[in-house]
Amino acid sequence: MLNSIKRTPQIPRKIRDIRPKRQLARNRESETNQLQQQDDDWWRRAETADELTHFWGDSAVNLVNRSSKTIPSKNANPSATDNISDKLHYGIFNKLKQLHGNIRHNRKKLFWGLMVIISWRTIYLLDLEKFTNAEEEQKAHESYSIPHDVRMKSIEDEISLLNEITDDMLTSTVSKSSSIGGPEKHSFENSYKHPSLPAALRHLHSPPHETDSLNSQNHRRSFLNNQIPTPYNDIFSKAHGTTAGLDCSDYGGPFGPSESAELVYWRDFPTDASFTSPFYNAQAQEATTGSIWNTKYLTFEMDVSYLFQIHFCPDLGHHVRAFIVLMCSIPLYRMRAGII
């Protein structure tokens, strides 16, 4: 009788009563389907006391008890551990559901909270980057703060090293008649490992009257092609033209652009020719006379200064292997500040 009262006629489902299927784990899904088959009213929430009494016949029914009642236990005496685990699972699910509801309810607070956290993190990373840059800058300043004497000493050492290399190469050039193919060449090549130097040494140690002129030209080309890599070499290689328009064929050669390229040490840059100063006014500068434009001129006096010759003399003495007798200190009229 009591059971017949519990099994009341089915309440027609309405769209508003349909609830979404609970998302459970896969291992619980089959069990859930089985429970749904056993209890058709699982979706129905009893909200009033009359409904609770009508459905369950007990005023002290709660959701947990309902689940325990609706799930018929397979055992005659259900163990206490099963009840505890069911309560625990359903309690966690309920709490998660409430948490989800709270999150939806307080999504504005959550959004602004995340924004504040992201802002703090950004500010922290910016400060960290600034601190790192400040440290690098300080290190750079430390490198610049090397005493001037020490820096000049290092520069002088580099210059002396370059002079030694140049001296050795010139020595090998002057005495190449005695050192062709000799052991000195081998040791010199081994002393410097730069890839461009072997090609240069092959050029320097080549016999003065080599029978195979084409071979010597190849040596020279290899030397020119194996220049010491600098940032400007790439620019030079990409520059337009190699002879800058130089043609000496009417004056006894060299003939052809390839031979002229061995004599010309500059390159033609079309951008240089097309460059105009921001102060350049073509209408004014190209006007001849009677124009409204005032042409601007630059005059200069032909100077007979000897500074260039002064610094040329030590070079000349160095090349001819002569003793250089330094002159007395004299004031240079173009350098009023000091005496060299």
Binding site: F279, Y280, Q285, T289, Y297, L298, T299, F300, D303
Partner: protein, 155 residues
């Protein structure tokens, strides 16, 4: 002399001014007589001045004779002190292989001469018309040793 001429070429190019070449004159250090019997030389003996002037779009080069014919003899040059028109000495435009002191005195009177001590200043030209402010700020950075490097000196 060579490097001085190269600097003058660069200066004229950077300032956008027409370069006036000096007259032929004698130079020191034993330049031997040429085929015409004189020992006066000009930069055009060593450089293809016309080719340089024709190839460089932003550089015009004329001779002193052309300059005096175009400006001096027509009364376009005025004294810096009095403002009166000054003509070349003896109304002469050809000064090749002559004493040039009167010509240079005349040029100094009709032109602006900017005193420049290389120990006290540097000469900088902007590569474009919008770089002037950048040059000023760069000079300020050098003076205050912004990047940590000391101010350069020649002693």
């Amino acid at each position: 002399m060579r490097i001085g001429f190269e600097n003058i070429l660069v200066l004229a190019h950077a300032m956008g001014r027409t370069l006036v070449m000096p007259p032929r004159r004698q130079i020191a250090h034993g330049i031997q007589s040429d085929t015409s019997g004189g020992n006066a030389v000009s930069f055009s003996d060593f450089y293809d001045i016309e080719a340089i002037s024709a190839k460089q779009i932003g550089l015009n080069i004329i001779t002193m004779e052309q300059f005096l014919d175009r400006e001096g003899l027509k009364g376009y040059l005025k004294s810096n002190k009095t403002g009166h028109i000054l003509y070349p000495p003896n109304s002469q435009s050809k000064w090749d292989n002559q004493r040039l002191q009167p010509l240079w005195d005349y040029i100094r009177n009709v032109s602006k001469i900017f005193p420049w001590d290389p120990m006290q200043g540097v000469l900088v030209f902007p590569s474009s018309g919008t770089d002037e402010q950048h040059i000023y700020s760069m000079m300020g950075d050098v003076l205050v040793e912004k990047d940590g490097r000391r101010f350069p000196h020649y002693r």
